[in-house]
């Protein structure tokens, strides 16, 4: 146990010192993207991993967070940090509406119905030009104008290191919450539901209520990632709601190991650089290469290590220590 803690403290220390050593803005930008997708994967992991409900609609929450905070910021000058919380709450409320019908279903039906929900959001965002005084701009998306300087009020920074520390703090926060849920009584309920829902219900666990609670937390953090996305890239569009993005998010968690604490981080560490590199070096001419690689990784993982990368690694790691001891 103390070994793990030391390791964790060392990792955090290294992560904190990282921007002081690495000065290259492109590299830092890529690292921030890795952490953002690790955070997204971790937020999916609460409903998809801990509760075992493989939602295909996580991008709905990402989109809600991005649109809510951006619209509040542009039209009413609400600081995005506050918008992040508001977006999170709205996403959590929306998740009740999504979870209530979808949790009646299981397995593939659950996956398909969550996918249908996020597609509905995408279609609405694509076709809506204006709501009252607010210009949503439909398919064109919304550009956020850059306000110079480093400002926490505007959530805009000329130096990328600020973004880095914010997303790092968010990631550490969600890892703590994941760890706390997993060890709590409620986390055990979720594990029971994941492993055998009928058995869990038969001993009196209110499966649907606990699943909706997990989905609400998952949605809240997914929406926070949306606000970060908007403020970091300064551009949002309806494809944020797309099911393709949902699949990318769950892919990151599953490749690393759904339900494991560090799975999404590892998954993002492997997959996000692939997409960043192909986007930079192959760009427009070979637009699909990134997705071919993604698809290949997904197929390989499903065929040879369906639990993801972490569980087999953890086994080795444990064996290593047992032998030493």
């Amino acid at each position: 146990m103390s070994w793990n803690r030391t390791l964790f403290a060392l990792a955090v220390l290294a992560a904190v010192l990282f921007p002081l050593v690495v000065r290259d803005p492109y590299f830092l930008h890529a690292t921030i993207t890795v952490l953002l997708f690790a955070f997204l994967g971790s937020s999916w992991n609460i409903i998809g991993g801990l509760a075992g409900q493989h939602s295909f609609g996580h991008s709905a929450f990402l989109g809600i967070g991005a649109y809510v905070s951006t619209i509040l910021f542009i039209y009413w000058n609400v600081p995005p940090f506050l918008g992040m919380i508001i977006g999170g709450i709205i996403a959590a409320i929306a998740s009740i509406g999504i979870g209530y019908p979808c949790f009646k279903l299981r397995g593939p039906y659950f996956a398909l119905s969550t996918l249908a929900f996020t597609e509905i959001f995408r279609i609405i965002a694509t076709t809506t030009e204006q709501v009252g005084p607010v210009d949503i701009k439909g398919a064109a998306g919304i550009l956020i104008s850059f306000r110079p300087g480093n400002s926490f009020v505007n959530f805009q920074f000329a130096e990328k290191a600020y973004y880095y520390y914010i997303i790092l703090a968010m990631l550490i926060l969600i890892l703590f919450i994941h760890n706390w849920i997993e060890k709590s009584r409620w986390g055990l309920y979720l594990a029971a539901i994941r492993d055998n829902e009928d058995a869990a219900r038969s001993i009196g666990i209110n499966a649907r209520r606990f699943k909706i609670l997990a989905l609400m937390i998952s949605a809240f953090f997914g929406a926070m990632a949306g606000t970060f996305y908007a403020q970091f890239f300064l551009y949002i569009e309806p494809t944020l709601f797309s099911s393709a993005l949902s699949i990318e998010i769950l892919l990151i968690a599953i490749v690393g190991g759904a339900g494991t604490l560090m799975g999404p981080f590892l998954g993002s560490l492997i997959l996000t650089p692939i997409s960043e590199l192909t986007r930079t070096y192959l760009g427009g001419t070979y637009a699909g290469v990134q997705l071919i690689i993604y698809g290949g990784v997904l197929v390989a993982i499903m065929m040879f290590a369906p639990q993801g990368i972490i569980p087999p690694l953890a086994k080795r790691y444990r064996m290593l220590f047992e032998r030493r001891a």
């Binding site: 493989h54 019908p101 979808c102 009646k104 279903l105 397995g107 593939p108 039906y109 996956a111 398909l112 119905s113 996918l115 249908a116 929900f117 597609e119 509905i120 279609i123 609405i124 694509t126 076709t127 699949i247 769950l250 892919l251 599953i254 070979y286 637009a287 699909g288 290469v289 997705l291 071919i292 993604y294 698809g295 290949g296 990784v297 997904l298 197929v299 499903m302 065929m303 369906p306």
Partner: protein, 292 residues
Amino acid sequence: MIGFIEATISGILMGGLYGFIAVSLSLIFGVAKIVNFAHGALFMVAMFLVYWILVLLKVDPYLSSLIAAGFLFFFGYFFQRLFIEPILRREKETAPLTVILLTSGLMMIIENVALLLFGADYRTVKTGYTGKVWEIAGLFIAQPRMIGFVLSFILILLLGLYLRKTNLGRAIRATSQDREAARLMGIDDYRVYKITFGVGGIMLGFAAAFLVPFYFVHPAVGELFVLKSFVIVVLGGLGSITGAFLAGIIVGIIESLGAQFINSALVESLIFIIFIGCLVVKPTGLLGKQRE
């Protein structure tokens, strides 16, 4: 009024093709309980096959539909054999989630390879009957749509006959009803799955060929159909061929009337809303049997 009737007819004709595609999906989904996200990608492959045969060899799509159907039989058969069967064997039970992810990975690969090879152009073909209409009682009916509808209907009847009258068809139905019991009766369930996938491929190949004369061909064209097909399968009732065909027609009518009188994008979301509503309220669909 004429506009209304014509939109309805055009919806029915397009819906028949939707239903036909959904029947092929329903066969795979209903028998092997496999959620095949790559269905649309297979469909796209068949459309490109027919397209290139037409462009390069000048063979009529209705003739090359036989080639597409044959090709997709083997494609489907080996798709199941190489990718899905190892997972089913390993996990010992129907493992829908692993398979969903696997097939969505395969979809990404197939679609983007097609994108690399053929580019993102929307391709259309010119045949002798593209844009031609029949005038029946003052109504104009597009010829390729009508031909596609009639041929789909005939093929669905043949499929029904095949499933009811042949030994292999009976084995397919038995496996879909109770896999374990079918196994005990000496049916090789994995072989049945492969054949089912192949037969689904045949239907898909025909459907693709019927669509080419009046639709565009594009690497992502399958995505337009695959989600709709799942909606139709669920709406019609899992495993019910008649149900899938009827639900296809219903979706076609909603879409066609909606595009004319409301807004085609919003109708798309209406279809998803119907889908969720149907799953929650009546998961057995229009004609599905209660099963537990």
